[in-house]
């Protein structure tokens, strides 16, 4: 049976295919990716996009956690100073309750406690990166103003708002405690307690009751402070979780789209051999035909 006498087109087509294969292998090796365009692996291309968004989200959560931790640590440190002040107030008050002191001694104590009042206001008006930390959600204004007409000597001009923040796909954390809950809570108002100590020292009576009030406020603030300790722990744990999640996502990304470099190198080698062989075959089809042998 007759065969196609012109074999060149077939050989050229084979050559083109091996060249295409070489080109694909080299693209993978150069980019390190097996999915260089969606058609390389359409399903993986889609999954890689979802993976990229999840990774981006995890990275963002880590950044946000970092921002919040900074504010919380500052708040916690301010509360620590408040508690130290209250301890000192208790000491002074206990001293002042001692019947052996005279008026001028008690006045001296009252003056020192008055100094604490302004320090407390300063601590309560802590500002971190432009926001008043204990103002609830009215963070642009200092929450406590001196007010001589007020029984506690200060007035709270913040609000009771709390903010939540998403730091995980199913996790939101509260990021602030308003001063109205923490420092000037009705029944546990530290400013009120300090004011009463001052007054009692000045008057020379009711110092014991005032010291009790301060102890109560002291216990209350300590209990409230736990919020910050717990939050920081929770955020640390979430950081650890997110770090391991980003590692897993990176592994998934590699599985979906990373080039198997060893395989690509081997393929490249065999594609080049194949290309060489095809070229030689084309070269050798310059056979003599019968015409060369006619005399």
């Amino acid at each position: 049976m007759r065969i196609n006498p012109n074999s060149i087109p077939d050989l050229l087509s084979a050559l083109e295919q091996t060249q295409q294969q070489v080109s694909t292998d080299m693209q993978q090796i150069a980019s390190g990716q097996s999915v260089n365009q969606p058609s390389d692996n359409p399903a993986a291309a889609g999954l890689l996009i979802e993976n990229a968004d999840q990774t981006s989200e995890a990275d963002q959560f880590l950044r946000s956690i970092g921002s919040v931790q900074g504010e919380m640590q500052n708040a916690d440190s301010a509360l620590n100073s408040v508690i130290t002040l209250l301890q000192r107030a208790i000491t002074l008050g206990t001293e002042g309750a001692n019947g052996t002191l005279n008026d001028s001694d008690r006045q001296a104590l009252a003056v020192e406690v008055q100094g604490m009042q302004s320090q407390l206001v300063g601590l309560a008006n802590l500002s971190y990166q432009g926001n008043y930390v204990f103002a609830g959600t009215a963070t642009e204004t200092a929450p406590y103003v001196q007010d001589p007409t007020s029984p506690s000597g200060v007035r709270y001009v913040g609000n009771a708002g709390v903010n939540l923040l998403a730091v995980g796909s199913n996790l939101s954390v509260q990021t602030n405690l308003p001063g109205s809950q923490l420092l000037s809570n009705s029944g546990n108002d530290v400013f009120q307690a300090i004011q009463e100590l001052i007054t009692s020292l000045q008057n020379g009576s009711g110092v014991d009751a005032a010291v009790n009030e301060i102890s109560q406020a002291y216990d209350y603030v300590n209990a409230q402070r736990v919020f910050y300790g717990n939050s920081v722990s929770q955020l640390n744990a979430q950081q650890t979780y997110l770090n391991s999640e980003t590692t897993q996502l990176a592994q998934q990304q590699n599985t979906l789209g990373g080039a198997d470099l060893d395989k690509a190198m081997t393929d490249l080698g065999s594609s080049e051999v194949s290309q060489q062989a095809t070229l030689e075959a084309i070269g050798q089809t310059q056979q003599a035909s019968l015409f060369s042998y006619l005399k």
Partner: protein
């Protein structure tokens, strides 16, 4: 003498026939590299014998005709496969270009969506911070730009395909006109009783070229052929060709007309079929998905924005501006706010409240676009484009392979083999030499007859 004369005539017929056969061989060898050439075979037949008494004597050989060897069924199969290949070639080329827009890069839509939501979460850590608010506006701007530029690229591609449609129709018209002319030449030769083999080869080539451009159906009719598209639009009827024309519709897209009938949707294969499919179906579908995504995302964000309060305690206004209809959303989406304080992060009017920012962030993983999150919808879209491209590439390869095999078969039937022609050459040459030798002998015998009756001296 009549015997010798008869033998002379017989030998002469051999010379003439062999000369003619040589000519066919020479023509084959000369055309060994001509694309589409079908080898010619001389058809030799014994001349009618004469009867003398009870002797039946042969009168030599007759070169009846020179026949081109071709397989018409194979030709038809090649034309069909050429149409298929033309269509897939056009689709692969166009889809490969489209998919560049959806290949991962730092400015692509997927990254822009991620970065936009990231900026919202960052804002929620400190909602009154103007630089974080500006960050949201910047990310929103980048998102709008990503949509705009992808949409522009797709639109640009559609224009270019549109131009190609008009050019292809021109090429089709040129070919049908040429085919009609060749038909005329074939008819003329056949009416004069001559072989039109060369012109038939030419016509086959032209029809193959036409097949790569548009779907064709070739039907023999009278003594010529009629060519229509697969759905019956007339292209060539014998010596008459029917031009197709193009005319843009209201959106500027070229429509293909046969006379006054719009045949655009009937063209199913060939390059024209592929171009029209891409321009009128595939590309608009992708553009529609892009518009759906842009519109849904903008609408959802605007919905949250207008339910909250900005930094000054006023009700929020739209963050994104989009057209009233979904169509054109991706091309036209823009950021409607330039003042960062207008971002509505607060849910109650207080400047440090982040409730509305939290709500806006929650959109990231909500099914806001046809039940899917924005990112998932985009991922599926990209996957779809990738699938279409890889399918088209696979079909193109398969079609290429089939066409190659058909061409191989055609070559085995109609291709010129130099070895075969050389062998034929030897045969005809020797036969010619033998006939010439016989004529020499007959000449000598005639000389003897003439001089038979001359006595010398």
């Amino acid at each position: 003498m009549s015997g010798l004369s008869a033998s002379l005539a017989t030998a002469l017929s051999g010379l003439i026939a062999d000369q003619g056969a040589m000519q066919a061989t020479t023509n084959n060898v000369a055309n060994v590299n001509t694309p589409g050439y079908s080898r010619e075979v001389p058809i030799l037949a014994t001349s009618d014998p004469v009867v003398l008494g009870n002797l039946t004597l042969g009168t030599g050989v007759n070169l009846q005709k020179v026949q081109s060897i071709r397989d018409p069924i194979l030709e038809t199969q090649i034309q069909q496969e050429t149409q298929t290949q033309g269509q897939w070639n056009a689709l692969v080329s166009a889809l490969s270009q489209t998919q560049v827009n959806f290949t991962s890069s730092s400015g692509d839509i997927g990254s822009a969506i991620s970065n936009f939501f990231n900026s919202i979460n960052q804002l929620a850590t400190s909602p009154a911070d103007l630089s974080l608010r500006q960050g949201v506006l910047t990310a929103a701007g980048n998102l709008a730009t990503a949509f705009n530029s992808t949409s522009k690229n797709l639109s640009s591609q559609r224009s270019s395909l549109n131009g190609s449609v008009a050019e292809t129709v021109d090429q089709v018209n040129q070919l049908t006109s040429q085919i009609a002319q060749v038909n005329e030449q074939i008819s003329r030769l056949e009416n004069a009783g001559q072989s039109a083999g060369t012109f038939e080869d030419q016509r086959t080539q032209l029809i193959d070229q036409l097949s790569s451009l548009v779907d064709v159906s070739v039907v023999p009719s009278d003594n010529t052929i009629t060519i229509t598209t697969a759905t019956g639009t007339a292209l060539v009827a014998g010596q008459q060709n029917f031009q197709l024309s193009t005319s843009p519709d209201s959106s500027g897209m070229q429509q293909v007309f046969s006379g006054t009938t719009n045949v655009t949707s009937t063209i199913a294969a060939g390059q024209l079929g592929g171009l029209l499919q891409m321009r009128d179906q595939q590309l608009p579908a992708i553009e529609n998905q892009l518009d759906t995504l842009a519109a849904a995302l903008a609408t959802a964000v605007n919905g949250v924005q207008t339910s909250g309060y900005d930094l000054k305690g006023n009700a929020g206004t739209n963050l994104f501006q989009i057209p009233a209809s979904t169509a054109g959303a991706a091309a036209n989406i823009s950021v409607a706010i330039t003042d960062p304080s207008l971002i509505a992060a607060s849910s109650d009017g207080s400047s440090g409240d982040n409730g509305n920012a939290d709500t806006m962030y929650a959109l990231r993983n909500q099914g806001i676009v046809s039940g899917q999150s924005a990112s998932d919808y985009y991922a599926n879209m990209v996957s779809g484009v990738g699938n279409a491209t890889s399918n088209a590439t696979a079909q193109q390869s398969a079609s290429s392979l089939t066409l190659q095999q058909l061409n191989d078969e055609r070559g085995s039937v109609s291709g010129v083999s130099l070895n075969e022609e050389a062998a034929n050459l030897i045969q005809y040459q020797q036969a010619y030499a033998a006939s010439a030798q016989i004529i020499t002998a007959i000449n000598s015998m005639m000389y003897d007859v003439i001089h038979m009756t001359t006595l010398t001296g």
